[in-house]
Symmetry: C2
Subunit: 343 residues, 2 copies
């Protein structure tokens, strides 16, 4: 009996050792109930002594299933999406699926390229972050009849499967909260809105809430900055530069807000005494360090869990609610921000 040394065991090796056919080994490993208990045991024994690990590519080729789900996110560089990805990975793992991950740094072409790379690897499903994507992506999804789900945003108009929340409504909520406190001079340090509809939605929400009360953001009071602390600092400097500085600065996310608060500290401005700073995303750390930060908590973990479940159910052939909108939560940590009359 020829033993293949120095080489990974194949199904045939297990079959030979267990004295059954490859078909039986395959069944024993994937459909245990279709095999007699005694045979099953022999096969498992053989597989174990050989340290057999199935060859995924061969398996995928024959079964047309990879038990792999791909996720494409804008970035892994900050903690914003980490929770969601984490929850996604855990939920998939529990169901015997593995996560393929790629990021694109907010570049639509890169997104298309990495998505292609993932689809090529043969994934059973796809999680995309946000609602707007390169047409090529939809084309490939279509061509492969690939189940997919969008997350971190809610597709109001379309009919795309998504597990998200309403960025615009969250922004309106923050704005209304500030309006109710009596603020009238607003500024927004937004994320870069190009290729990021979540940033666009938040900006739109602020606009809408202000407009409903007859107010508006002047051009000098809107700046776009990358989601970095430096962006927040620069943004604060710029929006405070004019003759009528805002009393409320709404930041596109907590990273910007933290930068803005740090800049306030440097400039001797108290928060929220002199100016209120608000953010989005509720990075826990922000609250630990600066109880002055009012922000919105997103259901990051649930997004991952539900996105995974959505795909898993569809892969089982079940019908699933196409769209799922999760609640967000306004987090006011310190007694509310009160604007103060300024010279």
């Amino acid at each position: 009996m020829k033993t293949r040394t120095n080489k990974a065991a194949r199904l045939a090796d297990v079959a030979r050792l267990a004295k059954v056919s490859t078909a039986t080994v395959s069944r024993a490993l994937t459909l245990p109930h279709k095999v007699k208990a005694r045979t099953l045991e022999r096969v498992h024994q053989a597989a174990h002594t050989l340290g057999y690990v199935a060859h995924g590519a061969a398996r995928a080729l024959a079964s047309r299933r990879t038990h792999t789900i791909a996720a494409v996110v804008p970035t892994l560089d900050n903690a914003i999406f980490a929770n969601t990805i984490h929850a996604l990975q855990r939920t998939l793992d529990a169901a015997g699926y593995v996560l393929l991950l790629a990021s694109h740094e907010f570049d639509a072409d890169v997104e298309a390229r990495v998505t292609r790379a993932l689809i090529e690897r043969g994934v059973d499903g796809l999680v995309l972050l946000g609602t707007t994507h390169h047409p090529d992506i939809y084309r490939m999804i279509e061509a492969h009849s690939l189940p997919y789900v969008l997350t971190w945003a809610f597709d109001e108009s379309g009919d795309q499967p998504c597990v998200g929340f309403d960025n615009r409504a969250a922004a309106m909520r923050v704005t209304n909260y500030l309006l109710d406190l009596g603020h009238v001079r607003f500024a927004m340090i937004s994320g870069i809105t190009r290729h990021n509809e979540r940033a666009r939605e938040r900006l739109a929400g602020v606009h809408a809430a202000l407009a409903a009360r007859g107010l508006a953001l002047t051009a000098a009071h809107i700046v776009e900055k990358p989601y970095t602390h430096t962006g927040g600092r620069e943004g604060l400097r710029e929006v405070m530069a004019g003759r009528e500085p805002p009393t409320a600065v709404i930041c596109g996310n907590d990273v910007l807000a933290i930068g803005a608060i740090a800049e306030c500290n440097v400039r001797g401005l108290t928060v929220p005494g002199d100016v209120s700073i608000t953010g989005f995303d509720d990075m826990e750390i922000a609250g630990v360090m600066t109880p002055a930060l009012t922000t919105v908590r997103f259901p990051t973990t649930d997004l991952g869990v539900y996105a995974a479940k959505h795909l898993l159910l569809r892969l089982e052939g079940k019908t699933v609610e196409l769209r799922c909108k999760l609640p967000t939560e306004l987090v006011v940590r310190e007694s509310a921000a009160v604007p103060r009359r300024r010279g």
Copy 2:
């Protein structure tokens, strides 16, 4: 000519449309220089009009290469490893590789299970975080002759390929810094050392540096806490509880340190006036919010870049330096922590 509608195009479809053999299409797609320019163009044209995407499993089965690298990390739940993973993904992507990612929440059995799942998917290489791993993992790596590299730790004794830094030396450095400032009463809020040799190394470094000056940590001044803000708060409370509270508290990482500082604020202790808090990892945000934090900056990005390059070079058959130790950096943000005589 039969057209396969409603189904992804295969190599044969492209070949038919381009009026060449499947072999030529394959070559055109993977070894373009071995095909005549005119043919190449015809093939590309055909592939594009059909929206052809290669079938990765088939490709992997035939070529025994997946162009996929797996990474297994303890957790994605905080930002600590995000940088490294991010850098890893970017470097691999640039080389045409895709990243498969899994986490195990500091559970050795889970680690073995997910690693197996990844290997089964057929990866060309493996990145593992830390130096200590389940024997089954090494067994599988061995059985598949899989190139791998350890990161975020440096394997002093062994001969395992690694790209890391010296956790123990970093801890000694912090401790010596504090000793030089005149501290004599120390405490450590360590991470959970079980299944985490990085936490163990840091604790060992503190012990060693103290011992070299004839000092020691009393049992009451060592607590182990999970890497959370709550852990840091609890830890601080506990180590400060005795009759001789420490003047220097060394935290196992910045998340713990931030929690500890927050707890100090609540208790009216000034940092570093009443007590010095130090951490590890240099989460940028910590410095932005609390300039009082002295910490160690790890080369997180470079770890990812070099780990990727290490594997890529080995996959090209090149010989690579087995182990690579990167420098860490002591970050003292505010004029040094000075202990003050206390009642």
